[in-house]
Amino acid sequence: MSASQSHKAEGISDVERGLLRDSVREFLSKRWPSEHAVEQSGKADAMAMLWRDLAGQGLTTLGAYPAEAGLRETLLVFEELGRASCPAPLLGAVGANLALAGQQSNAMRAMLEDLHQGKAMVALALGVFDGDAAAGQVDCRGDALSGKVSFVEAAETATHFVVLTGEPAGVTVVTSGAPGMQIEVTPGLAVPPFSELTFDNTPATRLDLLPNALADIAWVARLACAGRALGAAERAFELAVDNAKIRKQFGQLIGQFQAVQHKLANCLISLDGARLALDAAAAARDNSNPEWHVFAASALAFAGPALRTVSIETHRALGAIGYAEEHEAPRHFRRVHADLVRFGGALGARAALADFMLGPAA
């Protein structure tokens, strides 16, 4: 099934989605507990073990079998990864599954099989479809890839790279360690950090895909990351609410102060608004609504500023308690901002909406 085909996942009920959420949350709480999340993020062997277990749960197939799990289920799993501060390379898996599922090439089928068994880990580079003009691009000539792409997550642990190309439109697969390929880690707000990938006549397996199918993969990636940011923002918010119920200052619980109550009420409005809009966008894609990109752009344009503000307000409500890197809140702050600024962020989503509402600018 390629990205250009329909995306039915009609048989899944809200109850089943609830069960999936519970199951992923329970799994991550055991396998990626919050007290070890930061320490484990830097350990390749810990991630490899987790990845095999995630595959055992069937989560590395997300995107491959839409009748069994659609975009709503994908977002739900990303949300749980965000809550747990777990940087498992699911974005690459979903991208690979969307682009390559159903393809006949032996090499690609083998890679997907390894991915579904938890043996392969994929990093996804959207190139010209990224939405961020600074993300770079690569060109494919014959079976060789050249160019540079930035802001790629999970590159250091990846066994394969799925790289989208614009001219000609298609998807390429590169094996880690391939000749002419360099990975440079680019530290910053995102933890784990992004990487920059340089290709110089790097051998790649190539598949033609229509530009709209590639753009569709990019929309899914944006929504998935927004879902992950939602999970992170919500978890940090819960910590702030819990703190407001026990922390006393001036002889009373800080949650009794109207200034704190209204701040947290605003956060809940933003969180619920983002969740509802993301779910509506995912449902629109799952139901093959031809205008699903409008719902997707709406969700991203809202979630960007809304969830980043939740993240800021969470820290204001937590005070210095939440400022130490050993506290959970800072990792959520990083996640929320990194995920929502990527792929063109809110500005890009608003520009897309303006295109829908007013037509393209002259």
Partner: protein, 395 residues
């Protein structure tokens, strides 16, 4: 054509939407629309004759249970209904309070006699209520109300003052919250009376509100109200008032949402072709950014309304969820009005009475937004509800 893709609320609601649209096309004719627009702005939205026409054809009580003569439509269908009515611009304010608030309270707390007498009357489209809640010393703290009702034989005698009653000067009846036990704790001594505003001792003083329509103060001087017009038992009025609020908030939110979508459609339609000083507005990157942000907010506001409707359909009472929808939608109206003024510049300040106004409705939309943020409990009170009921933060 709307700027945002239409929400699909399921096949039943979509089919019902078509039915409503067909009726409106037949009865809310171009001639009627033109005549309505010739009315002074303050009177628009109110048309007793059109209310009666809606009543005649069964369009009042669409969401009422069938046992009370309604159509028993789901919340999704009701949202489709109010959206279509609002989109058409048809006047439905006159009977709105009677249908959405008074009737809801009568279902829950009215006696059999009251239900038999008032519900068919409301359904006919000829019964026009306004709400008598706020007082000079009782706004956000509504339970501090002082208007007094004292029993005298078969009547209650009412003395006091009410404020800010929307449509109070156009209504025939007041849904009046009164204090019947001044010794009880403030929430426990309140009752609700249905008062005929033509009774001796009632003085109504309308004043113009910022949004261009009137609201009214009323003075009650020894007004006699038959005891049979008390809804619910004496001193249980607080429950009567609050029980009717949930369904009301959902429908009022949906109506407001539909008005906002309509205004946004008008704005984007205008922007597609507008040229000012040789500059096509649609190419301005700042304007495009604002339009994109508003479109996203509108979609989120719609989703809040859909969630509220779904909760009602599941038999739940959306309390903090309804408050979230109210806060978000009313503040979106303010943002939309402000954005329209920024985009239209000085021309945006002109009302529809100015022939050269680019979009005369926008300055009114902004003036109206204040009402949305204050009416039905200020947004600050709603945030208290969200914090204390939704997040269970301590009082």
């Amino acid at each position: 054509m709307t700027a945002l893709p239409a929400l699909s609320m399921g096949p039943a609601a979509n089919a019902f939407r078509k039915e409503v649209r067909a009726w409106l096309a037949k009865h809310w004719t171009a001639e009627k629309q033109a005549a309505h627009l010739r009315k002074p702005f303050k009177d628009r939205g109110y048309d007793n004759e059109f209310s009666k026409l809606m009543g005649r054809d069964g369009w009042i009580g669409v969401g009422w249970p069938k046992q009370f003569g309604g159509q028993g439509r789901s919340a999704s269908e009701q949202i489709a209904f109010v959206t279509e009515v609002a989109n058409s611009g048809a006047p439905a304010h006159a009977h709105n309070t009677s249908e959405s608030i008074v009737a809801q309270a009568l279902f829950l707390h009215g006696s059999k006699e009251q239900q038999d007498e008032w519900l068919p009357f409301i359904r006919s489209g000829a019964c026009f209520f306004a709400l008598g809640y706020s007082e000079p010393e009782a706004g956000s703290d509504l339970a501090a109300l002082r208007t007094r009702a004292v029993r005298d034989g078969g009547d209650w005698i009412v003395n006091g003052q009410k404020l800010w009653s929307t449509g109070g000067d156009k209504a025939d009846y007041m849904w009046l919250a009164v204090r019947t036990d001044p010794e009880a704790k403030k929430h426990a001594g309140i009752s609700v009376l249905m008062v005929d505003l033509r009774s001796p001792g009632v003085t109504i003083r309308p004043s113009m509100a910022l949004y261009g329509k009137t609201f009214s103060a009323q003075f009650y001087d020894d007004v006699r109200v038959p005891a049979k017009n008390m809804v619910g038992a004496v001193n249980t009025g607080w429950k009567v008032i609050t029980d009717a609020l949930a369904a009301e908030r959902v429908m009022i939110g949906a109506t407001r949402m539909a008005h906002l979508e309509r205004a946004f459609d008008h704005l984007t339609e205008y922007l597609k072709t507008a040229v000012i000083g040789g500059r096509a507005l649609r190419n301005d990157p700042v304007i495009r950014d604002r339009v994109g942000a508003l479109a996203a907010d509108l979609e989120v506001a719609r989703q809040f309304q859909v969630r509220n409707a779904q909760l009602v359909e599941q038999g739940k009472v959306p309390i903090h969820e309804a408050a979230m929808g109210k806060v978000f939608t009313s503040e979106l109206q303010e943002r939309l009005g402000q954005a329209a003024l920024d985009i239209l510049g000085s021309g945006g300040l002109l009302s529809e009475d100015s022939a050269s106004a680019p979009l005369g409705e926008m300055e009114q939309l902004l003036r109206h937004s204040i009402m949305g943020m204050i009416g039905g409990g200020t947004n600050e009170i709603q945030r208290n509800v969200i914090a204390q009921r939704g997040l269970e933060l301590p009082r």
